[in-house]
């Protein structure tokens, strides 16, 4: 089982990866929204599938989730999830339409595509930073969007891992929007879920045994 060979030093390396990738993505988001975006120190944890749902806010919380697969030297899944109210505010600001609302049954095409584009830009800057840092080839697929229960969304990214384990190593970075009251502050997350066979590639690239 792959999880047995992961030491705390390995987890630190993965944390650094989260740090570099998410810092770039947070900068891109700040620029896009012309807002200061704060990034938390990434957490790297080995968690059960149920704990993974809890990290994302509990299986039933409603989010706008961007999912993409990673291919190349490293394979895996990546998610950018935002509570739906915050996704609404972001998209309203991006498309200059105060009435935009993901919760209304029919999501306008421009809103959905703005959200996908947001996911594209953020995950692209996350992954290209990661690629530069490790020298590994990392190709993201076109992102897909779903507005639904986070459990239903995230479990899709666990399918691959579930073939080999009941645990997943998650590189989780939370984002916060500055200068808004705490209740309203952004609780966005990047979740990077490398497939188990990719860890060795990451560690080798960084010269870690």
């Amino acid at each position: 089982m792959y999880e047995k060979n992961i030491t705390s030093m390995h987890l630190d390396v993965l944390k650094e990866i989260g740090n570099i990738g998410a810092a770039h993505a947070a900068t891109a988001l700040s620029t896009l929204l012309n807002k200061k975006i704060d990034m938390k120190v990434p957490k790297v944890e080995m968690v059960s599938f149920d704990e993974m749902m809890d990290l994302a806010g509990g299986p039933e919380s409603v989010v706008a989730g961007i999912y993409l697969r990673i291919e190349g030297d490293v394979t895996g899944s990546m998610f950018f999830v935002l509570p739906v109210e915050q996704a609404n505010r972001f998209i309203q600001r991006l498309i200059h339409d105060e009435s935009f609302d993901f919760q209304v049954g029919e999501v306008s095409e421009i809103g959905a595509s703005a959200m996908q584009e947001l996911g594209n830009i953020l995950s692209g800057s996350y992954l290209s930073a990661l690629s530069d840092f490790t020298g590994l080839k990392i190709y993201p697929t076109v992102p897909a969007l779903s507005v639904d229960m986070v459990g239903a969304i995230i479990s899709f990214g666990l399918v691959e891992v579930s073939h080999v384990s009941d645990y997943v190593i998650v590189i989780d970075t939370a984002l916060n929007e500055e200068d808004v009251p705490n209740v309203e502050s952004v609780k966005g997350h990047f979740f990077l879920l490398p497939n188990p066979e990719s860890f060795q590639a990451i560690f080798n690239a960084l010269g870690v045994q």
């Binding site: 039933e60 999912y67 507005v147 479990s155 899709f156 579930s162």
Partner: protein, 165 residues
């Protein structure tokens, strides 16, 4: 609610049993399938949160039987037998197996929801358990709760509200 029962929770790739007045629930099903096996007379029900169609896909040393359709269903039948349920009395209700994302790529892993539903149906048939009702496919997440006292499976979605099957 009328009953004073507890809600028995079932996690992802997990299973459990509830007896009336308790109910049994699993949250946030996407491509996973919730399989309820119940016996009307004894008001007892088992719920499996199936994640993958077949345990031959598993590459772990020890198998979590609840994770797969082919191992979860017989394991649940065995557990229900220990509770005194006769297998020929079992009926099933199933929900889930959605496709949460629309992709242009046709990779097989992307079709995991429909494949889970097919596998669950195949193994229920193999064990001669009739499916009384189902709510599968689509592209919405579901939270489901079964009440062994009424035999109703309550299904909640974000966009399409709540209904009982």
């Amino acid at each position: 609610m009328i009953g004073q029962g507890q809600v028995v929770k079932v996690g992802i790739a997990d299973m459990n049993i509830a007896k009336a007045p308790d109910t049994i629930r699993t949250s946030g099903l996407g491509s996973c399938v919730g399989v309820v096996l119940f016996d009307e007379r004894s008001q007892i029900a088992g719920l499996i949160h199936v994640m993958l169609p077949d345990s031959s896909l598993g590459r772990t040393e020890t198998i979590n039987s609840a994770k797969f359709a082919d191992t979860g269903i017989p394991a649940m039948i065995e557990q229900l037998k220990l509770e005194g349920v006769q297998p020929f009395k079992l009926r099933a209700k199933i929900a889930g197996g959605a496709q949460m994302f629309q992709f242009s790529s046709s990779r097989d892993t992307m079709r995991i929801g429909p494949r889970n539903v097919e596998a669950v149906k195949e193994y229920l048939k193999k064990y001669s358990i009739p499916i009384v009702s189902e709510d599968t496919g689509g592209n919405s997440g579901r939270t489901i709760e079964f009440n062994p006292a009424t035999n109703l499976l309550n299904i909640r979605t974000v966009n399409q509200g709540v209904r009982d099957i």
